[in-house]
Each structure stands twice: as C-alpha cells, then as structure tokens.
Symmetry: C2
Subunit: 346 residues, 2 copies
C-alpha cells in the first residue's frame, strides 16, 4: 500500500463525517491530499484534521477535479446532486446516504459480506448501507455461508445518534428537563421532517424515519431491501420493526433467524468466532453479552445471547450490537475504500 490518494470528505461537520475524519487518521489511511466540502453556509469555516487546520470549501461539481475518493455523508439531496459530478470527474464515490442504495448499478457493500461486488462500479458510485443493516448482515453472513439462511425477523433498539448531533442534544436536554420536573420538549425525533415529535428520554419510539404506504417505515424497508441486496438473496424472508431508544450511540438488535440446514449452538459459535469484524460476547455464566454503552467507540460488531429456538431446530435467536456511527457508517465507508485498495481496484 504505497499508493496514496486525494480524498474529499463531504459533510465533515456531521455526526458521521466527524467520525470519518477521526478514523481516517486512526486507521492511517493513505492520504496524499484531503479537502473538506460542505454547503455554502459552512464554507470558509476552519476544520481541524490530524493537527492541521483546513478551511471548509463549498461543494461544487468542480471541487472534485483530481479527487480519487469522495466520501459523502451530507444528506440524500447533496449526494443526488454531486455524487454523479464527482464520479464524472474520476472520483470513486462512497456515499453514506440512502439515495443510491437500491440502484441496481450501484454496489451496496459491507466488505465482510460482499466485497467481490466492488469489481464492477458502473456509475463510479458505491453505497454504504443503512447502519442497522450493516451490523446485522455482517453477523449473519458467517452463519449463512455454512448453514444457509431463509428467514430473518429483527426488532431494533436504535441510538439517537443515528438521527444526528441534534438528536443527541435533544436527549440530553430532555433528560435534564425530566429530572427537574419540567415539561419535556421534543422537536427532532422520531423524524425531523415529520409532523409530530415525541420525547425520547424515558421513552421508546416505534418509528424511525417516516412511514411508507405499506405501514412499514423507511428504516424498516431499508433493512428489508438492503439485507436482500447485500447478501445477494432476493428471496430471503426479512421483516423488521425499528425502534428508537434513549441510548446515545450503539444500535442493538434482537434477531430471529431460520437456517436452511440444522445447526447446533456450537456450530453457530464456531462460525462467528472465526468471522472477520465480529466479536463473540456470549458467556451467560459470566453475564457476558453485548450492550451499547460498551460498544460505543469500538470497531467490531458484538454478538451474543445466541439461543436455539425451542420449537424449530433450524431457528436461532441472537443479540447484535455495534456503534452505529462507526461500523454502521463512517468505519464501513472507510473499509470499503480499504478493500478496494487491497484488491487493487483503486
């Protein structure tokens, strides 16, 4: 890895963008040059990166001249407008928004699951999947490889940081209001652009993103559709119920799966133990299982509470936790770029 790259980060000041910057440094990503792009509103502001001060530039089509890798996390409309412009100028775009994810010409990638699809990037754009989906498919892939997979039913326990920095602030403010006996005010969750807002402190909200016409939310449909696409299993049965909980960072998931072949609990343990990016945290005698406060800031996906279904010998239950801003977003985006470098695709 002697080659170094010209990198652009679009949306560096957001919850995910700032984690991208942190992990580009932490992982010693081979950077030749880096620039930080944002809307006209943020342009001109200073931004610190690896001990140096940069100036945020306004993102325009021309900003991407000479860029090798463009990391987008500034919202769907920015990606829609500028990702094709970046790609047109020769950059490989890794887009963290949902805008291109279901485009059949855009690979949707979790390196542990489907890095092989990175060989063909028709539009020059790669999509980083939804946070809840990434941790689930990465944990299910090693099991699926050995025993096949026919059905997935997931209920999520998602952290507020998935809704951005403002949602983290809202949880903090509401907690203080609640403790002081004041009225709790809500203006962000469950979805900033939706009509009603509900408190998240001391509450759980069974709505993430807005509703689609079929009664599922967009978040639930993302988990359903993206899982099938990433795993390359269009016929897989997937159902999701997505719920916001008063946790700062770290999404948790209660997952029920049905396999093609029978497996023992030891088989499942063995396949997860050797899996890349996975930490098996399952020792009930020692009360060891994944929890979001301990996953925050950590790279791996933690899996535990693995149990065979009591009625279906091909059924298993498990509990999957990961930092939604890291493996669920920033880290996975960087790992996509690293996989391309390793595989001589960049």
């Amino acid at each position: 890895m002697t080659k170094h790259y010209n990198v652009a980060v679009v949306g560096a000041t957001g919850a995910v963008g700032s984690k991208m910057m942190e992990h580009l440094i932490k992982r010693n990503f081979p950077i030749k040059s880096i620039k930080f792009l944002a809307s006209a509103r943020s342009a001109g502001k200073p931004i610190e990166f690896n001990g140096q001060t940069y100036t945020i530039e306004e993102a325009t089509p021309e900003s991407f001249e000479g860029i090798d890798i463009a990391l987008f996390s500034a919202g769907g409309s920015v990606s829609a407008a500028l990702a094709p412009e970046a790609a047109k100028r020769g950059a490989v775009v890794i887009d963290n928004t949902s805008h291109f994810r279901m485009d059949p010409e855009v690979p949707l990638v979790v390196p542990e699951v489907n890095r092989h699809v990175l060989k063909t990037i028709p539009k020059g754009i790669i999509a980083n999947p939804n946070c809840s989906t990434i941790q689930m498919v990465a944990a299910l892939q090693p099991i699926r490889e050995k025993f096949g997979l026919t059905k997935v039913v997931v209920s999520t326990y998602q952290a507020v940081s998935g809704s951005g920095i403002a949602a983290i602030e809202e949880l903090k403010i509401q907690s203080t209001q609640w403790e002081k006996g004041k009225d709790v005010e809500a203006s962000i969750l469950p979805a900033k652009s939706d009509k009603k807002h509900y408190p998240i402190a001391r509450n759980v909200i069974p709505q993430i993103d807005k509703f689609t016409d079929n009664g599922y939310t967009f978040e639930e449909m993302k988990m359903i559709n993206e899982t099938k696409k990433i795993m390359g299993l269009p016929g897989l049965h997937v159902a999701a119920t997505c719920v916001r909980v008063p946790v700062v960072s770290g999404h948790s998931e209660s997952v029920y799966i049905e396999l093609e072949k029978e497996a023992t609990i030891e088989d499942i343990f063995a396949s997860l133990k050797e899996a890349p990016g996975i930490v098996l945290q399952d020792d009930i005698r020692a009360q060891e299982y994944p929890m979001p406060i301990y996953a925050e800031g950590e790279d791996p996906i933690f899996v535990g509470r693995i149990r065979r279904d009591l009625d279906n010998p091909k059924g298993f239950h498990m509990w999957i936790v990961a930092d939604n801003l890291l493996k669920g977003a920033a880290l996975n985006s960087i790992q996509i770029a690293e996989a391309m470098i390793e595989d001589d695709l960049l």
Copy 2:
C-alpha cells in the same frame, strides 16, 4: 355487587403493592375490611389507605383468619410460605409472584383470556402472570379466537419499575451521574441477586432475571411457558428475548405472530377494536402508535404498528405497550378478584 369482602394486602409498600392499594380505591372495590401485612421489619409502620391510617402487621399464618381475598406481592419466598396458610384459612389467594404460576393445580389468569378457569381453584391459589406475558396474551387472544395462532416471536423493551422501586431510583441516580460526567454506579440491574450489575441509563441490557441452563433467562422462559398455559395452547411455538430499557414504567413489545388462517389487516384491526381491555392506537398518517410514557398510569393495553408480514400471508407484526405495574401486575390481580365476584365465585 352488594357483598363486601375482608381483604389482606401482603407487600403493600412495594412498587406493585402500592399500585394495588391505589386501584382498590380507584375501582371502588367492595371492601368490608382491609389489612396490610409485611415482614417483621416493616410491621408497626403506619400506612395510608383511602384517607385512613392503618398499621402494617407482621404476616403470619394467623393473619389470614377471616380473610376472603389475599393479594400477595411480597416476593416468591413469602408467597411460598404464606399463600397456602392463607388458603387453608379460607382466603382466595391472588399471588403476583412467579412461585405458583406453573403449578398445574394453580390457575394462571388474565381475565380477558381465560376467566373460565377460575371455576376450579384446587389449592385456593390463583397466580397473576408475569407482566410482559399479560399484555401480550390479552392482545393476541382476540386475534387467536378468530384466526388461530401457531407462532409468537417477541422482543421486549421493559421498564425498570419491573425490578421494583430501587431500580427506578437507580435509573434516576445514574442519569444524574451521567449528566455530571461522573462514574455511573450500578447495583440493582439486571438482577439484584445476580453477580454483575450494569448501568441502565443510556443503555439497554439484554438480561431480565437470571439465566436458566438453556441459555434463556427466567423472564424469557416465563413468557414462553405462561403464554402457553394462559392461552391453553401447549403446542404453541413461542420465543422471547427480554431486554431492559431506560424507561420508568411501561413495557413495550415487538411481536411477530403466525396465524392458522389467512387474515387481512382490516380483520386484525376489527378483532382488536372490539376486544376488552385493548385500545387500538394505529394511525400511521397521524403518527399514532403506543409509547410507554403515554401508557404510564393507564389501565388499557395499547396496540399499534400492525403490519402484515411481506413474505408470509399468515404473518403479522405488532407493537404492544402497557403499564407493567397496572395491567401487568396490580390491576390484573384486582381484575381477577372482580371477575370472580361477577361470576359468583367469591
């Protein structure tokens, strides 16, 4: 209902006991006399009930002489020792602990589901089911009556009040510690008598009660076994993953069910609309769905987020919320007594 009853409340100072007292008054329960029993430690202390001051008495076998209805919620060992003594003296015991629940000679009752079993009480003891189980079976019963039920997979989002008053205090203290940047200390959750304790503020803990040998917790096995017993469906497939969340009161459940017969979403709505004790709260256009902060202090079970499974025409997903101290405990116990009075069994 002109007959009035001599009532004993065992464990009146606990989280459930105090709600029992509140709702005996609120529901105008036909009380001739009432006494409050506890361990020797609490005996002699004053206790307020309906504007009068009573003195807590030490619970002994003789305390139950002349008692018609004994409401127990002072822990399994107290019930084990004293419920048979109360029954021997002619009281009908309604026990809120898990001690007698799976005894084949003890009816386990949610009045909306199986009040008919109250006709035969071989030991003079009736068990009040686990809080998470009550709200689930009451919501599933009207659907099961019309379309049959073959499978239930539930993931819970359980409030800390299910672990008693000390757990509510712990959540409050931890929240303050967290906001002040102090170390967060844990000594109650996930299970006071277990070895390790974890913070619940800003966290979710996938352990409620201790673990059994099969990898499931006692709470999960309660949901599995009690659901089959209450619904009278020993062959029903039931699986549960029970998780504690930082909510004060109100258990939420993400439930996936499979029916015997196909049903439409309108069929499911119709059966829940007319069901006793259920409030259908399902209007996604108005962002109406159940949430624990709005269920706290309310009698009904709230059901929403009802969706047909996208792959299985006999599969449905729903979200069930109820106040775990009320319908999940104190209220259901009182409703059992009311059902017996109505059915001329007491």
